[in-house]
Amino acid sequence: MPAVLPLVQALLSVALLLTFSRLVRGPHLADRVVALDLTALIVVGLIAVYVIQTGEAALLDAAIVLALIGFLSTVAFARYLERRIRR
């Protein structure tokens, strides 16, 4: 299994780069928000892989908090977008 870990990390890093390209290009603000949300989730996945690699259990708490912050920021951006229209 340790042989798989570098491959998995490389795949997740490529995913991060692709998501970042959408974050830079995204024509609409909502596109960028989707890319940010995806970035947070990919980093959660990277932390999960790192937990397996090192056996450091405390990092999982960071992963859960990161998922929570990603969700909250998405909801906040959506509220902001909708309120911008109502005005």
Partner: protein, 137 residues
Amino acid sequence: MTAPTAQWLAAMAEWLTAGLLVCGSLFVLLAALGVARMPDLFTRMQPATKATTLGMGCLLLAVTLATDDPGVRTRAVAAIVFVLLTAPVAAHMIGRAGYLDGAELWDGTLVDEWQGRPAGGAASRPRSPSAADDRRA
């Protein structure tokens, strides 16, 4: 057939962990590819929520298999449940906000059920920034 030994079970868990890790990272990579390549906001949200949820489920399940610590397992399962619960909500909110804010639809879009709906729906939806300015004036 003899009962599986502890050693056999450990080897099995190791293989399953490796398989789940590769599956999960492939799903996440496909999701990122979709987000980078799909034509409009609403098609991009499909991989960003569905494929990512599945990928995260695989990666965190791999954590539960790789560890012996019940606390770590519980936290990984809690993270899976959290992602399962929040991903659709976030996607719904941002999709709705993006549509109302006038995100471009793909040219090949066949069904737009909100088109022509009165008050608060697509009827008041600004098609372009200039249309939004007209409405505000």
